[in-house]
Point group: C2
Chain length 175, copies 2
């Protein structure tokens, strides 16, 4: 299973691709950050983000897309751009019929570090260990995108196992 | 000048196309609402909105796109979907190199009714009069989209006249 994780943003959009499955080690495929110029028109920035993200999807052909769920918190101005940016991977997934999941930051932190309140350094450190990388992925947006993809493989896997268990039990009941 | 006005939303997205220019009457070209099912996945809804909005753009070939600027206010949950929906006309315009403007609700109300705090009934009533329609456009989202397009023609026209005046003055200074 190949997962594309996207930490949406107009200034820096983290992108990470991970291969993996339940009971097998995860593998880094690619990681990076898509940047768009702060001085550009918001619509131009969205379009530039879309153009680059589409290239990532075409190049790596993921089986699923995981996007960080955006919350309206302190920075209301920034949140609008982030919400608009999150539409880009959502559209990319829907256009191809790829399954898409939105994970909250605390779900991602809990999945990767065991602590839903872990800080950025802890997330980066665990991502580096889980993927057995020689160098920690930078910037934090890139590490977050990988953490999203890892979270998705593990949560998706758990859901699959649950579904399999339910299916097995139903099959048992019918017998 | 043909303007496509878009009042973004996932449940109801108002769309209105108006022809016009400074010193000539405005003309309704088309008006409608794009709806997506509330029970569908948000990414599916965004994609369905994009598919329909692209058809509007292809069919009517606007010279400019005007989108309502989304603000984070009371309904934080709804605002995320609206912000993501607003990415769709922004991408449609940027992809084609069409000028795009974001107008706030009070700018639109002020342009159309002379009162930045006008209510929906007043906006609909003025849109109906300005476009000399026999029947008021419904629902309110459709009337809002037309109001956006009207606002854009008039504000754009004023900016153009200012730019022309500045250009004329500069030309005069050089002589």
């Amino acid at each position: 299973m190949r997962v594309l994780g996207v930490d949406p943003g107009l200034t820096r959009c983290g992108v990470g691709v991970v291969d993996g499955g339940i009971g097998q080690p995860l593998r880094l495929v690619a990681v990076g950050v898509i940047r768009t110029p702060v001085d550009d028109d918001p619509a131009q920035r969205l379009f530039a983000l879309q153009t680059e993200l589409e290239q990532w999807v075409e190049r790596h052909q993921p089986d699923a897309v995981a996007v960080e769920r955006v919350f309206a918190k302190a920075n209301i101005k920034g949140i609008m751009g982030t919400a608009q940016a999150s539409a880009v991977p959502m559209l990319a997934a829907a256009r191809r019929g790829l399954p898409l999941a939105m994970h909250t930051p605390s779900e991602v932190k809990a999945a990767v570090t065991g602590n839903g309140r872990a800080d950025k350094a802890q997330v980066t450190s665990m991502v580096t260990r889980i993927l057995r990388l020689d160098v920690a992925p930078k910037p934090a947006d890139a590490a977050d995108a990988l953490a999203l993809a890892i979270c998705h493989v593990w949560r998706g896997g758990a859901q699959d196992r649950l579904a399999q268990a339910v299916a097995r039990q139903r099959a048992g009941v019918r017998r």
